[in-house]
């Protein structure tokens, strides 16, 4: 039995309505839970990029990549281990403003964690933190002692250490 590990799946696609549905269906059909999913523009104009975090065996992820690449509007799909990528997540905490002044400890936590205060008003302040999952989880644990009004964490975004030759592929089509 192969071991399941975390893979970052990066997919370059055309910007087409319904493609998210088509791609997520590939995972759903095989009963694979998506840990996180992010879609954005990419380094190439007009080309979108999906970043999907999944936990599965390498054998499975290879097949999934094949199924994804088979979709007409997918230009290319890749999978990478954590070691092969530079990755980050981002999160926001909404916390009562009183605490910022009453609890000295909070200020230390903010400073030590390299979190950033986005806004402060009379009622609440918003703290932003980008980093690895464990850093965000640590900050969450530390702040939850004081009470968090709202918390949200983004999906993983990642760039790869190695090159992904998309531009050349698209250029080849145009020639």
């Amino acid at each position: 039995m192969e071991i399941k590990e975390l893979f970052t799946v990066s997919i370059y696609t055309e910007n087409h309505i319904g493609l998210l549905n088509r791609i997520s269906a590939i995972f759903q059909r095989r009963h694979i839970n998506i840990e996180s999913l992010n879609t954005s523009v990419s380094e190439i104009e007009g080309v979108s990029r999906f970043t999907i975090l999944v936990k599965m065996t390498e054998k499975e992820v290879k097949k999934i990549i094949g199924q994804i690449e088979k979709q007409v509007e997918v230009i290319k799909a890749f999978y990478h281990t954590d070691d092969e990528t530079i990755y980050q997540e981002s999160c926001l905490f909404k916390i009562k403003s009183d605490l910022l002044f009453e609890e000295r400890q909070i200020q230390n936590i903010i400073k030590d964690s390299n979190a950033r205060i986005v806004t402060v008003n009379k009622a609440f302040f918003v703290l932003e933190k980008s980093g690895r999952r464990n850093e965000i989880e640590l900050l969450h644990r530390e702040l939850s002692v004081f009470g968090i009004m709202q918390f949200v964490r983004s999906g993983r975004i990642a760039v790869t250490k190695d090159e992904m030759k998309i531009t050349e592929m698209l250029a080849a089509f145009n020639n």
């Binding site: 087409h16 549905n21 088509r22 059909r29 094949g66 509007e73 089509f173």
Partner: protein, 580 residues
């Protein structure tokens, strides 16, 4: 007629037309004409009415066939595509019209059938409002289409339809659904059509690595006990002649998957029969004995492989495949030769050595003799009282000479048909292989007969599947389609009953059928009909059927509790195939 075959004047007219201001719905019909569509299968309704109004105008150019259910339209389009190699077209309205297409679309997806479905949709301002007959058909059809798209502006129509046909027919073919809002159908715009010749994110045929061809040739040349299994990929790539040349030069025995049937004549001496659950004994057993397994345009479906852990483990596996996602999906290959089967078989032929493999081929013959003694003899030439499905096939073969196109449904009769039908012409075995859609055969036979009116098209159907799309007798009646229909009636859902007998302790839960008088029903549609329940009447009835210039219905009452053998039980290895 494809674009290439269009008379030059007509072609010019489509390609070099100046921009013209027409409605979206007229544009749809003009696009279909430009793609060479001559027949559409469909069913009208509110959201597609503007297109039907245009079809009325263009009825001399394009023949619309009103099926009696939208599912029938998709299967008819499939039958049309499977026998002709052209793209089948089905059309339906929004909501239930669209959802009724889904079974046929899923069937076309898993069996790689080129098909374009066009659905009407509620006006764009109503999208998402739960309007009358609104359904998210793009969302619903996503997992079962090769591509789909919703059009909300008339100006998108030419480009999207051109892309739809290109995607449906290119590479590994498949179904495409285009959903068009009613306002886009009414909207006028400046129409001009340009055929699609590429989509930048889509590589229909992957590049062949020359090294893989050389390596494959080297392995094949060194093989002592090689075996070919070909699938529908050979038919879709028009590679029948190339496969035959390869078989004859190398002397390699070749077996086929259910969808690969008919690519090589069943009488060819190197054709060793069907693989899979109810395939022939020799190719199944010897899959686990061969030293090189050459898979061509097939996808190692579980019905072909049985237990994967015990499938051809001793063999080096070479996989000729157009779809990279199929490589290593189920069976780990040693050499994958990606690309078009026709190209690659042409390229590999000069690299292959001329051989005969006599003693290896003899092994297949020896096992065939066992299968003949234990199974085939009793199926084709029974001595017991009740009629067998096999003897019906035997009789059809003797009258058709193996030149008919055979459309089968799903179940026992399908396995018997695919095991015993003689085929001399490619694209002649039309059946629902991957999805196993009961109800496929009757409408598919209509489409096949219309696409190939000069061929004999015989639908062979069980009493269960027949009643799933029996309403299409209405289409046959109205269109005067000269299909021959043979219902092999055992008053059971036979395949399920067989499994109940073998694996569920003969507990026949909901498999026995009380059937109506099928002959009377056929006569209600003014179709000549006959029932046979005795052996002495069979030959005459089939002869009468074959001689008929019109549609003909023949019900054959066969033995109620016959089983299909050989059989690889579910989850067993192919070499553990049972003969009884």
């Amino acid at each position: 007629m494809t674009m290439e075959e269009l008379p030059t004047m007509k072609k010019k007219q489509y390609l070099e037309q100046p921009k013209e201001r027409i409605s979206g719905s007229e544009a749809i019909v003009r696009c279909l004409l430009a793609e060479g569509v001559d027949i559409i299968y469909g069913y009208p309704g509110g959201a597609i009415m503007p297109v039907y109004d245009e079809l009325y105008k263009y009825q001399n150019e394009i023949h619309h066939v009103l099926t009696r259910h939208e599912q029938g339209a998709t299967h008819a389009a499939q039958g049309y595509a499977r026998i002709s190699g052209k793209v089948g077209v089905a059309m339906a309205t929004s909501g239930p019209g669209a959802t009724n297409l889904i079974t046929g679309i899923a069937d076309a997806q898993i069996d790689s059938t080129p098909m374009v479905c066009i659905t009407g949709q509620v006006a764009s301002h109503l999208l998402g409002s739960d309007a009358f007959q609104e359904t998210d058909i793009v969302g619903i059809s996503t997992p079962v289409t090769k591509w789909n798209h919703q059009i909300t502006k008339a100006a998108e129509i030419p480009e999207v339809i051109a892309k739809a046909f290109y995607i449906a027919r290119s590479g590994r073919p498949g179904p495409v659904l285009i959903d068009i809002t009613k306002d886009a159908q009414f909207e006028e715009f400046d129409f001009q059509y340009k055929k699609c010749d590429g989509v930048r994110s889509y590589i229909p045929v992957p590049k062949t690595d020359k090294g893989s061809l050389n390596l494959a040739a080297e392995i094949i040349n060194g093989a002592k006990k090689p075996m070919i299994i070909w699938g529908q990929g050979v038919i879709l790539a028009h590679a029948e002649e190339q496969l035959k040349a390869m078989m004859e030069k190398t002397g390699i025995p070749a077996a086929w998957t259910i969808l690969g049937a008919s690519a090589i004549s069943t009488s060819h001496p190197l054709n060793i029969g069907m693989v899979g659950m109810h395939g022939n004994y020799a190719p199944n057993v010897l899959t686990n004995d061969c030293d090189v397994l050459i898979a061509i345009g097939m996808r190692f479906d579980d019905r072909v492989t049985g237990k994967l852990d015990e499938y051809a483990k001793q063999a080096k596996i070479i996989h000729f495949e157009i779809d990279p996602a199929e490589v290593d999906k189920n069976v780990k290959t040693d050499v994958a030769v990606l690309g078009d089967a026709k190209d690659n078989l042409t390229k590999i032929l000069p690299l292959l050595e001329t051989k005969t493999h006599h003693s290896w081929h003899q092994k297949f013959k020896d096992l065939y003799a066992i299968e003949f003694e234990k199974v085939i003899k009793n199926d084709l030439h029974p001595t017991k009282d009740g009629l067998t499905m096999g003897e019906v096939l035997n009789e059809i073969n003797s009258k058709s000479g193996g030149n008919a196109a055979i459309v089968s449904d799903v179940g026992q009769h399908q396995m018997i048909t695919c095991r015993y039908a003689d085929f001399n012409v490619s694209k002649s075995n039309i059946t629902s292989g991957g999805l196993g859609t009961m109800g496929f055969a009757l409408p598919a036979a209509i489409g096949a007969k219309m696409a190939a009116p000069n061929r004999e098209v015989i639908a062979i159907i069980g009493d269960g599947g027949y009643q799933m799309t029996i309403q299409e007798l209405g289409t046959i009646f109205q269109q005067k389609t000269a299909v021959k229909i043979v219902v092999l009636n055992n008053n059971f859902l036979g395949m399920v009953r067989q499994w109940q007998q073998l694996f569920f302790n003969k507990r026949y839960a909901s498999t026995e059928m009380t059937n109506p008088d099928f002959v009377t029903i056929a006569k209600g549609y003014q179709i000549q009909a006959r029932r046979v329940s005795e052996r002495k009447d069979l030959g005459y009835a089939i002869e009468e059927m074959m001689k008929s210039q019109d549609a003909y219905f023949l019900e054959v009452c066969v033995e109620k509790e016959d089983n299909v053998f050989p059989m690889v039980p579910s989850g067993a290895s192919v070499s553990d195939i049972r003969l009884e």
